[in-house]
Structures are given as structure tokens and as C-alpha cells.
Subunit: 228 residues, 2 copies
DNA sequence: CGCAGGTTTGACTTCACTCAATCGGCGTGG
DNA sequence: CCACGCCGATTGAGTGAAGTCAAACCTGCG
């Protein structure tokens, strides 16, 4: 039970999730910076960390998809970002997490101690630069998303979302890992509006759908033009 | 013309703005980190830097207010953030600025070379940490704003905006430095909706107005409750 | 005092939301 | 292997909140 000891020793990383075997206890965070880590597996919709919880760890997605979000008292939810394999999340300025993070699909996540990472950053300038770069890139992506939320119509939002997802897919086919509710809460819409927008894009010949989660982008240029 | 030489030497910091005398050529960025700098003055609505311009400088507001924004082809604009005295802006991950920055009011801005700052960060761990902290705090603020843009109604947005502004004012009185257009483009609304929302808040006794730009928050608790 | 800009107000329209019914795909169990 | 049931997604009808267009109103300034 060596691994459980190490888990306890690490202070516990939330209620959920299960420890999982992991290569050599190291994770390559970015730009060649490597830190000691352990891995956990989270089920679909399982919480990874909550708002206002201590931000003792930094997380990297090994496989699966993660969402971070904030909520209002009455239940309205805004998904701030989706994180995919290779993405780092959970870096905070203060001692507490300012968002909630959950697994969209079953996820394998590498965790590394925040203090350890800070210690590394204190000695290795490249590591400090890397942390800075991660935060700035995050901020840039959020700014882009603000334009979408503040100034775009429903179809433009969905088109922008699909365009962003299809970026990494050369053949234009993609399998949406998240539900319509997640998409709606990411785009500041209702599920009905998301649905209507996708139908509209399909009628216009921009995309083709096979079931709700398989989308083929047929006309990437048109998709971009919807974004203005 | 010593100052113009130094301006040219620095590679030119945009078309607009005038060099201004500055204490000792140093600016305290944050947490005691200091870097060589020079100051410029920008008129109301003058551009500080444009989207896709080289991000050679980092900026700190000495006095006045700055807006950063992105635009769509058809002219729709989303203001990403306002920066007030003491705030640092213009830090970028890549070589280019991803937003446009303009002076909301006449502004006095301290500029420091990005490369110089990076050199300092390479030697001083505290400086690197500071840069990281600035970026993370920015990202956090943007995330907060995304919740407002994606999930709040018009009155809630205006209430949230006023609440954010009144935070630093103990007596509840504040003078809005920006026009209704700026507020609208920050909140993802039209000027008419901003106007109607403020009228509504006034009718409800939450605020009192003396002219369009002088607002007194009479009931801070009620203001927060509009935000949910 | 009068002009010009920005702001407020009003009437009407539009787009997205709500509520409700139907559809469809997936997984389970017969 | 197929039928059924369930959950998520789609579609439709009606409503409502914010947008648009236009007019009137301040207010600060020449």
C-alpha cells in the first residue's frame, strides 16, 4: 500500500478519484520542465477540486477532458474552460481555487504539489518562465472567449466552438466529449439554442452530424465566416 | 532633444503618446520589483498599442484609466479589461499583442522594455514569481467577468460593474471615468440597456445619480444581491 | 446663449429563453 | 438478438428580455 501512504502524505487531493499507477513519478509539465507527480483517475462528472478548496496541487490532463466552472447562487453555471490531454490547470494566485474542476469524461490526471513546483521555479528560471507562460496563455484564451460571450450571436458561438475543437483534427471529423448542457454553459446559451444552432449549421451544409456527438466539419471556411 | 533620442533608441512605442519627465527612470512594478522605465502621456481615446503590434513593452498605469479590447470585423467591440492607477498591463505570451489598448481618460503610463523585464526575471526569482502572479490574477479576473457575460442579466451586469468600481471607495461615491459606450462594450450590452439598468437601480433606491457620470451607491448590500 | 456630444426615454422588433412534446440512441434485460 | 425504457437531444409554440431605431433631453463648453 505504498501508494496510499504517499497519498496521505500528500495531504489528500480531494474526496474523489482513485490513485493510479504512474510511470516514474515524474510529469513533464511543459517546455521540458519536469516535476514529481502521481496520477489519479476520475470518473465522468466526478469533482477534481471545489471552489474555495486549498490549491495545494497543480494538475495535468493525461487523458480525458476536464471542465472548470463558476456558479451563481441560483444554479446558473458558466464553464470557464475545457482542458484536454496535455493541458495544465489548477494554477492559482492565492491559496484557494477560484473555480470548480470536474471530469467531463473519465480522466487520468497527473497531480504535482504546488509547493514543489514553486520550489523548482525558485531554482530554475526556465520553470518560472514556463509557469508564467501557462498563465498568460490561459488569460489570452479567456479574453478570446469573452469576445464570444459578450458580442456574438448563438450560431456564431456554436460555430466558434466547433472551429476551436476542429483545430486539431485534420480530417474535420470530431467526437464531442461533452454533453449539450456543458456546451451551453460554456457558450452562455441554453441547450435548446445550441441544438437549434447546430441544426442550422447542418442545414446550411457547414457541418454534418451522425448522432448528437459526431460532427463532421464540411466547410471550415464557412465555419470561420460565421465567427465574423 | 535627449528624450526623443531615447525614444528612438527604445524602438518607438507606437505612434501616439508623448514622452514625459519621469522621476528616476525606474518603475516599481509590484512586490518591490523595480525596472528601468520611461513615462508617456496619452490623450483621451489615444491608442497605446494595437492588436498584432510587437509586444516590446510592458505598461503600468501611473494615472488615468486604460481599456483593452478586441473587435470583430463588423465593428462589434468587447472591452476585456479596464486598468486603473497601479495596474500593470500589456504582458503577452507571444511576440505580439493580442488586444488593443487605448486611453479612456488622459493617462500617464510607465513603459518598461519587455526584454529588460525578462532579463530581470532570469536573475531574480521574486521578479519571475511576480510576473506569474500578475498573469494569474488577470486570468482570475477574466474568469469572473466571463460569468457575468455568459450568465447575468442586464441589471445584474451593471450592478456587478458598479460594485467592482465602488470597492475602493469608502463613502460610496464614484465618478465614472468612462462613457456609456465603454461600459456597454465591457458588459456586452448596448448603451440603451446600460442606461435603462442604471435608471432601474436608481428607481429602486440602490444608487443615486448626479449627471451621467456621478454615482452614489446608497445600498451596497442590495447592489451585491442584484449580482446573485 | 446656443450648439454638439453624449445620454435618456419611448415604441417596436428580434433573438434567445421557457415550457412542453416528441424523437432517437444507447444500454439493459428478457 | 431484439424489445423496451430511459436519458439526452431535438423540435415547436409562445413569451420575454435586450436590441434597434428614433426622438427628446441634458450638460458642458465655446
Amino acid at each position: 500500500m505504498r501508494s496510499y501512504e504517499s497519498h496521505a502524505e500528500l495531504g489528500g487531493a480531494g474526496i474523489g478519484g482513485r490513485l493510479a499507477p504512474f510511470a516514474d513519478g515524474l510529469v513533464a509539465l511543459s517546455l521540458g520542465v519536469t516535476a514529481p507527480a502521481f496520477a489519479m483517475v476520475f470518473d465522468r462528472n466526478e469533482e477534481i477540486y471545489g471552489e474555495q478548496e486549498a490549491a495545494d496541487f497543480v494538475y495535468k490532463v493525461i487523458s480525458g477532458v476536464v471542465r472548470t466552472y463558476r456558479m451563481l447562487n441560483d444554479g446558473r453555471r458558466q464553464i470557464v474552460a475545457f482542458y484536454y490531454a496535455g493541458d495544465v490547470f489548477g494554477l492559482e494566485a492565492g491559496e484557494l481555487h477560484s473555480y470548480c474542476a470536474e471530469a467531463v469524461t473519465e480522466c487520468r490526471i497527473a497531480l504535482t504539489r504546488r509547493r514543489g513546483l514553486e520550489r523548482i521555479a525558485n531554482e530554475d528560471v526556465a520553470a518560472a518562465r514556463m509557469l508564467w507562460g501557462l498563465a498568460v496563455r490561459d488569460a489570452q484564451r479567456l479574453g478570446e472567449h469573452m469576445l464570444l460571450l459578450g458580442r456574438k450571436g448563438a450560431v456564431e458561438r456554436v460555430a466558434g466552438f466547433l472551429h476551436q475543437l476542429v483545430g486539431h483534427s485534420p480530417n474535420g471529423r470530431l467526437k464531442l466529449p461533452m454533453s449539450r448542457i456543458d456546451i451551453a454553459d460554456y457558450l452562455g446559451l441554453t441547450i435548446e439554442s445550441v441544438s437549434r444552432s447546430m441544426t442550422r449549421l447542418e442545414r446550411d451544409g457547414v457541418i454534418a452530424m451522425a448522432g448528437a456527438r459526431n460532427v463532421e466539419v464540411r466547410d471550415r471556411v464557412a465555419l470561420e465566416s460565421y465567427e465574423d
